[in-house]
């Protein structure tokens, strides 16, 4: 396998009893890339990450992280990576500074390097002046940045972030992504799971997981290109549910989904115009307020991918 890739995954699977949590997934991640893992809860994102970090043993298949086989040498992997879990696992009874020193001690950082990295973690997390605050007294956003700082102390070349922004306010979330961009610019590979679609937009490439399988993979633009031949229109109607039922009955409409108070309809081709649709709806007694073509969002992509995966699963 190539060393230009930070992570190479080949038919990786994990069973829990009879339950197939991860089902023969394959992908690779280039160095310096921000790779997003998208999926509903229970889709297998965390299980995959935990296998790649050497926390869970793969049931079959193989994976290489920084050129090291995860199945054969999990401890070798651990020396090369940083990991931050969705719980922001810190020692509650330790202060900010003590948590940093503890992580540093585990990686054997001492002397000038320790002072340097400690300053980095405090600076990055905006934690200066809070060194003596107990971790349990920190608000969510600070905890999250402290946990990230601890995971980056030893300057790992690959970082795994498992839902790093759960339960954090939007401002902190944006700040956190700025940090991730910074890491990537410095050549660190970041593999991040999330279920926020706006965050996924910021990734170089996105993998969508569904029921343990990789349902789609590619750059955001590539994923959206599936809608090049299937335009989306946004229908604003007084009664969106009624509009949805009417649209579903039309042969030119592939499928519909509810987006807040509007309905997104995926059309089967580019021939159908908004005016035609509007007329057809009016004939069926649906009062349409507006109907506009829209650019596909990642949410459209996500729903589309899940639909197709489920159809494939049912077939």
């Amino acid at each position: 396998m190539s060393t230009t890739h930070a992570i190479v995954v080949d038919k990786l699977s994990r069973m829990f009893g009879a339950f197939r949590a991860v089902d023969a997934i394959s992908f690779d991640v280039a160095r310096g890339e921000v790779f997003g893992f998208l999926g509903a809860n229970g889709a297998g994102k965390s299980t995959t990450i935990r296998m790649l970090c050497g926390l869970l043993e793969p049931s079959s298949g193989r994976a290489e992280v920084d050129g090291v086989d995860v199945g054969r040498d999990p401890e070798g992997v651990k020396r090369r990576i940083g990991y931050m879990s969705q719980k922001f696992s810190l020692y509650e009874r330790l202060t900010v500074d003590e948590n940093i020193r503890f992580s540093a001690g585990l990686y054997g950082l001492t002397g000038a390097r320790l002072a340097d990295r400690r300053a980095f973690a405090l600076e990055m997390g905006g934690l200066k002046g809070k060194e003596r605050v107990l971790a349990r007294d920190l608000p969510g956003g600070w905890r999250q940045r402290l946990a990230l700082g601890c995971a980056l102390l030893h300057e790992p070349r690959i970082v795994f972030l498992d839902e790093p922004t759960g339960g954090v306010d939007p401002v902190s979330r944006r700040e956190f992504w700025r940090l991730i961009d910074g890491l990537s610019r410095q050549g660190t590979t970041v593999l991040v799971t999330t279920h926020y679609l706006d965050e996924a937009e910021r990734c170089d490439r996105v993998a969508i997981m569904h029921a343990g399988r990789l349902a789609a993979l590619g750059t955001v633009a590539k994923l959206k290109s599936t809608f090049d031949t299937r335009p989306i229109v946004e229908v604003r109607a007084a009664n969106p549910v009624q509009a949805m039922t009417a649209l579903d009955a039309m042969p030119s409409v592939e499928k519909t989904s509810l987006f807040g108070t509007t309905v997104h309809a995926v059309l089967r081709g580019q021939e159908t115009t908004a005016e035609e649709l509007s007329r057809a709806l009016a004939e069926k007694g649906v009062h349409v307020e507006a109907i506009d073509p829209v650019l596909p969002s990642l949410e459209d992509v996500f729903l589309d991918v899940i639909d197709r995966a489920e159809e494939a699963g049912a077939a």
Binding site: L90, Y91, E98, F102, G105, Y107
Partner: protein, 374 residues
């Protein structure tokens, strides 16, 4: 390796310091407990409440009942007129024993003394619900009545040769059960406090997610176990010093053997109890589960089957085999030996070796169980 362990130990102490409730419990509780339980854990049966029914009311019967009243073993809590009146006393638990002297007791006794035949018998009714205490109390009654008979018989009765038994009791001449029980309580307390402490140590980190965080670092399993074992050993040693001080200074239990040996064996014992806690911790997924496992599968069976209270030699053979896997058993032999008998390594080495083997085995097992990967 040394650096990582030092980091872990440092962190563990910080956490302990930030949990003053726990620290207080671990340091103060054993002292209070030993002070209390040292008094309570006595198998001596004393002040047994009894009621008496004197159906004779002769000088002889009164003299007999006087012996009961004068004995430290019995407290006469009441005298009843009729035998039927004692039912209520025993049912309510007011009295454990009823002593009934039959009518014409004095006359029968005098006749038997002259003729050399068997004399009258007195009836003793015991509440058998506490079988042990009742059994002991009954044997006291036998003894008291026997003494009384000897006094009454006087030198004239020495018709047949008698054996003069010269009994000496070693190690504990006053038969103070406290001298036996206090070292035992010490051993049990150490087990309960230290095993509990570590049984939570790893599950707690599992529950809060910090164990995963540790597991993605290059730290090894044995480093994790050692990093937990070392700080808690120190806490345990402080406990050892405290409880030994209480036993010697407060309870005046004679410490006849080597103090150094006592500390050395306590240290080995601590490895066993702390290692046991860690093993439980690695086997559990929640703290509640760890606590249940520690208490029910380890602490309680160990306390009962170690010979702390119930002598092992009375147990069925199969269960005696089981007791061989209980470290408390060996430590009890060692502490009781050092305290009461002043025995040294020459005698105690088999128990010492057993304890050491057990300690190493349980720590190795804990390391083996504490997989860094699921």
């Amino acid at each position: 390796m040394i650096g990582r362990i030092r980091t872990l130990v440092w962190k563990e102490f910080l956490e302990l310091r930030r949990t003053p409730q726990l620290l207080r419990l671990v340091l103060v509780a054993p002292v209070l407990q030993l002070a209390m339980l040292g008094y309570a854990a006595t198998t001596d049966v004393q002040h047994v409440p009894i009621v008496v029914v004197d159906g004779d009311r002769s000088p002889a019967s009164r003299q007999l009942l006087e012996t009961f009243a004068a004995s430290p073993y019995f407290d006469v809590v009441g005298e009843r007129m009729a035998p039927s009146a004692i039912d209520d006393d025993l049912e309510r638990g007011r009295a454990w024993l009823a002593v009934l002297v039959p009518p014409r007791f004095g006359d029968d006794l005098a006749r038997a003394r002259v003729r050399g035949t068997a004399g009258p018998s007195i009836q003793v009714i015991a509440d058998g619900t506490d079988a042990n205490s009742s059994g002991v109390a009954l044997s006291y009654v036998q003894g008291l009545v026997g003494q009384y008979a000897t006094v009454v018989a006087g030198p004239a009765a020495r018709g047949a040769p008698q054996l003069d038994g010269r009994v000496r009791v070693w190690f504990n001449p006053d038969l103070e059960s406290r001298n036996f029980m206090v070292p035992g309580v010490l051993a049990v307390l150490l087990l309960v406090v230290t095993a509990n402490l570590t049984s939570m140590a790893i599950v707690r980190e599992r529950e809060t997610g910090t164990l995963d965080q540790l597991n993605v670092t290059p730290i090894t399993r044995s480093e994790i176990i050692l990093g937990k074992l070392l700080p808690y050993s120190l806490v345990g040693l402080v406990d050892v010093v405290l409880v030994i001080a209480i036993a010697v200074l407060w309870f005046q239990v004679p410490l006849r053997g080597s103090v150094a040996l006592l500390f050395l064996s306590s240290l080995v014992y601590l490895v066993c109890t702390l290692g046991l806690g860690l093993l439980v911790s690695t086997m559990s997924s929640t703290q509640q589960q760890a606590m249940m496992t520690a208490t029910f599968f380890f602490l309680v069976p160990m306390i009962y089957l170690s010979g702390f209270i119930f002598p092992i030699e009375n147990m069925p053979t199969v269960i005696q085999w089981v007791t061989f896997v209980i470290p408390l058993r060996y430590f009890l032999v060692i502490v009781r030996g050092i305290f009461l008998k002043g025995t040294g390594m020459a005698v105690l080495w088999p128990s010492f070796v057993a304890l050491a083997v057990w300690g190493v085995a349980v720590v190795v097992l804990a390391v083996a169980r504490s997989s860094k990967r699921a």
